[in-house]
């Protein structure tokens, strides 16, 4: 990890990685979503609405994955004071918030024909909504700290504390059996028929690549802004 502590070295790698992630992401997402929409049978219970799974599940995974990344970046910042950790945290937050919002909205759209309601204060739905609000809080806190000229340690602490919500989201369907169905994937395999399942890993991997490309682009923007601010400060001091 310390190999990338040098922003110049990181930028060199990020430029190539952004393009590759974007192209690979478009390709895999395209195959996954087209496959999910046109080449899988409808579910015997849910009918055509099962196709919402191909966008809902990757969004849920990335909503939670984004905060996992923030928690790792927070540890890297608080423990090792890694120079890119705060930048990574600030870049991950908006992308994670977007996917948490997509997860909530697509889940609500799926819930109307399946459950007969747009929303229920169920354990999974509520903990996911809390994650979305945590993202908004993190974005506001990190931005305020940056404007104040801080190192982002308060945002990093918030990122670590917020990670408590991740196991709550994961186990919510086991702890509180209300409306959201139990886990479809476990150590014993998948409860979904392979004829319906196959586009899901492709879409998940593809959308994850696009998420990675967006995060790298935000990190590059943050680094360019930091460089510019430092140069302007130096010019003002001369």
């Amino acid at each position: 990890m310390h190999r990338f502590a040098n922003p110049a070295r990181f930028l060199k790698l990020a430029r190539t990685a952004t393009a590759w992630l974007f192209v690979l992401g478009l390709l895999l997402t395209g195959i996954g979503l087209i496959g999910g929409l046109g080449f899988t049978p409808p579910d015997y219970l849910q009918g055509e609405t099962v196709r919402i799974m191909y966008v809902h599940v990757p969004s849920a995974w990335l909503g939670m994955g984004g905060w996992t990344g923030i928690a790792i970046a927070s540890i890297a910042q608080l423990v090792w004071r890694h120079p890119l950790a705060a930048v990574a945290g600030r870049a991950l937050a908006p992308a994670g918030a977007v996917f948490a919002a997509i997860c909530l909205i697509t889940g609500s759209i799926w819930g109307r024909p399946t459950w007969g309601t747009w929303w229920e204060w169920d354990g999974r739905l509520t903990s996911m909504l809390i994650l979305f609000f945590l993202y908004l809080g993190y974005i506001a806190l990190a931005e305020a700290e940056r404007e104040r000229g801080g190192e982002g340690r308060i945002a990093a602490l918030f990122g670590l504390i917020g990670a408590i919500n991740l196991p709550i989201i994961h186990y919510s369907v086991t702890w509180w059996r209300t409306l959201h169905q139990a886990q479809s994937f476990g150590t014993e395999g998948s409860a979904i028929d392979p004829s319906i399942l196959w586009p899901l890993p492709l879409a998940t991997l593809g959308i994850s690549c696009l998420f990675g490309a967006a995060v790298l682009m935000r990190m590059r923007a943050e680094l360019a802004e930091t460089k510019m601010e430092a140069r302007m400060r130096r010019a003002a001091a001369e």
Binding site: L33, G47, T49, V55, R112, R220, A224
Partner: protein
């Protein structure tokens, strides 16, 4: 309402949200990198 209307709505939200995120990330990156290069040249 037909099931496909719900499917279409969910895909519009997901694809629209992802495209908007990528566009915003790209535009802000290009703008920041161009401004940093401009300042370097001065």
């Amino acid at each position: 309402m037909n099931h496909w209307s719900f499917v279409a709505a969910a895909y519009v939200v997901a694809v629209g949200g992802t495209v908007a995120l990528l566009l915003w990330a790209y535009v802000t990156m290009r703008r920041a990198e161009a401004a940093a290069d401009e300042l370097k040249r001065k």
